[in-house]
């Protein structure tokens, strides 16, 4: 620590625990525009799905997938089952009018059971 100096045993233990815990708290969750820049692997995978994430410039234009692609995670993988139609049982055709999500996402409609 730079600004705080531990001066008793308990404070030293707190500092040690902070230092020991640093890899997990520092590297678990990072913003893409944070400095220094985090390492971002090339290629797309589910774990880099857009949505609430932003790119290195703070926008969504440079994301490896279009932000709208995110809705398919909710739909296809049932990750977020409540807000989107269930494509397994009740709405298998819900996304049939949406061939390219970035372009056609407006074709996705509400479902009236």
């Amino acid at each position: 620590m730079k600004h705080l100096r531990p001066v008793n045993r308990k404070a030293q233990r707190i500092e040690e625990s902070i230092v020991a815990a640093q890899p997990s708290t520092e590297e678990d969750v990072v913003a893409l525009q944070q400095a220094p820049r985090p390492h971002v692997p090339m290629g797309c995978s589910l774990s880099f799905s857009p949505g609430w994430e932003v790119d290195g410039g703070g926008g969504t234009a440079g994301l490896c997938q279009p932000a709208e692609r995110d809705i398919y995670d909710c739909y296809v993988t049932c990750f977020w089952p409540v807000q989107v139609p269930d494509h397994v049982n009740y709405s298998p055709d819900w996304a049939s009018n949406c061939a390219v999500a970035a372009k056609d996402w407006r074709n996705l409609d509400l479902v009236f059971p």
Partner: protein, 487 residues
């Protein structure tokens, strides 16, 4: 995959629970929920000062620091550090939990053997025999038998389980009225401890009236620590510490003390002074006991009483006492800055606890690592509850009454004391002496509210001594810690 987080108002920072203080030209924070002490640089101090005025969001705080000349990344680092140690917290953070209770099967570390409840003096303020006594000794044994004592030693060794060392304190009444037993117990306990591969230490408290050359030699040979209950020079000592006929005890103990201090070189010899109304000449008492008599350490405590006694310290008495405590604390610090030990143990004890950063669940070890044993073998939380039917926690032959012990400990836990929850001195005080609380309020679980202001002021004084040393002579603190670990 998208993980939605709940959207809420940005958290606002405020100071964590702390006592901030300045010492030796530096600023410090004493963090209450941990007992930790951190020195602050100017930047950290300025954050606390800003948050003192009003709560701020992260963005506001960063902006304010940048305006104050810090880089943005430095500001972020600073805020992060303060957050991690909980020097600053957000209004959305859950309050830190209180100290957890020690395990129910806490291993025993020390026994106080009340080897007699008889005394040859009749000190007017005595908590064992005086007006506010809680002991009910009628019909009970007056002297401990060797069988009871040996059973106690075995009990201690057994109940200490994995501990490598245990301690026995001999107490009274006047302890030396049963010296014959004391001698036998020491020899027995040494053998018994050795057979179990454990270390063992001894100490005793005495009024010094019965010390003889033979006793002094035995105490020295066996490395038995000695605490002498004594109030000071003749006029002070003889005010309350008198024989049953009213005669003062100073003239009797003075030559004995000189022999004790000249011939007992294996352990520190301590004087323990009781302060009463009109007997608050702390500095003069200290000088006499330390410089004239030659005690290694001198400790002071105000008399325990129900609040109604004419010898009780009033508010002005406490103020007088504290002013003199400060004088000795300044002297303690001056010694320490020169690398010398000072004998005012009220400072030494607190510094030891600050070094560790204790955060107590209970004010002391009573009922946890320590128990008292009455002459008849009844167990009590400590020596102050000996022979009190209200607080028997079992018997040496049948073991600890876990239900009563649990009730005593639940009652005395700092988290059970409402007034303590908003006090920054609670890691060290934890509500204060169980016995004092019982005498004063009829409840061992009552916070000792009559000395809260005094405890806070004294803790602040000791923190400043500690802070000054950490800034100006940290090597002394290291040596002090090592020395304390040995004693």
């Amino acid at each position: 995959m998208t993980v939605m987080t709940q959207i809420q108002a940005p958290a606002r920072y405020r100071r964590g629970e702390m006592h901030a203080f300045k010492a030796g030209g530096s600023e410090f924070m004493y963090l209450v929920t941990a007992g930790a002490v951190f020195a602050l640089d100017d930047a950290a101090s300025s954050v606390l000062a800003r948050l003192d005025e009003h709560e701020m969001s992260h963005v506001e705080l960063v902006a304010a620091l940048v305006e104050g000349g810090y880089s943005e990344s430095d500001a972020e680092d600073l805020i992060r550090e303060l957050r991690l140690v909980q020097g600053i917290v957000t209004d959305q953070a859950a309050p830190a939990p209180g100290p957890t209770s020690p395990p129910a099967d806490f291993p025993l570390q020390a026994l106080v053997l009340n080897i007699t409840n008889q005394c040859n003096l009749a000190c007017t303020y005595c908590y064992e025999f005086g007006a506010d006594k809680i002991a009910t000794p009628a019909g009970k044994a007056k002297y401990m038998t060797i069988e009871t004592a040996k059973t106690s030693v075995d009990f201690l060794l057994e109940q200490s389980r994995e501990r490598k060392a245990v301690h026995i304190t001999f107490f009274g009444g006047e302890t030396l009225m049963n010296f014959k037993l004391l001698r036998e117990v020491v020899l027995y306990a040494r053998d018994a401890a050795a057979a179990k591969g454990k270390g063992i230490g001894f100490s005793l408290t005495t009024n010094a009236t019965l010390l003889t050359d033979e006793i002094i030699a035995f105490l020295s040979d066996n490395e038995i620590g000695v605490t002498v209950s004594m109030d000071g020079p003749p006029d002070v000592q003889d005010k309350h510490r008198v024989y049953k006929n009213g005669k003062g005890s100073y003239a009797v103990i003075e030559p004995r003390l000189r022999k004790l201090l000249a011939n007992h070189k294996t352990r520190a010899i301590t004087a323990r002074v009781t302060l009463t109304e009109g007997v608050m000449d702390v500095v003069r008492i200290y000088r006499h006991l330390k410089d004239d008599i030659g005690f290694h350490e001198v400790g002071f405590a105000p008399v325990t009483n129900s609040g109604d006694r004419d010898y009780a310290l009033g508010d002005s008495g406490m103020d007088t006492m504290l002013a003199q405590f400060h004088e000795l604390a300044d002297e303690w610090l001056a010694y320490a800055l020169r690398g010398q030990m000072h004998g005012f143990s009220n400072v030494s004890e607190t510094i030891t606890e600050l070094l560790q950063g204790v955060n107590k669940s209970h004010p002391c070890g009573a009922g946890l690592g320590l128990l008292g044993v009455s002459p008849a073998g009844d167990l009590s939380p400590c020596h102050r509850f000996t022979d009190a039917d209200t607080h028997t926690l079992g018997h040496i032959s049948s073991g600890i009454d876990q239900e009563k012990r649990g009730e005593f400990l639940d009652r005395g836990h700092v988290s059970a004391k409402y007034e303590c929850q908003s006090c920054w001195a609670r890691p060290l005080c934890a509500g204060g002496c169980h016995h004092e609380a019982f005498v004063r309020y009829g409840d061992t679980g009552h916070a000792n509210l009559h000395y809260c202001d005094w405890i806070r002021e004294w803790t602040d004084t000791c923190l400043k001594v500690y802070g000054a040393l950490s800034a100006q002579n940290p090597e002394f603190l290291e040596r002090f810690a090592e020395r304390k670990a040995l004693s």
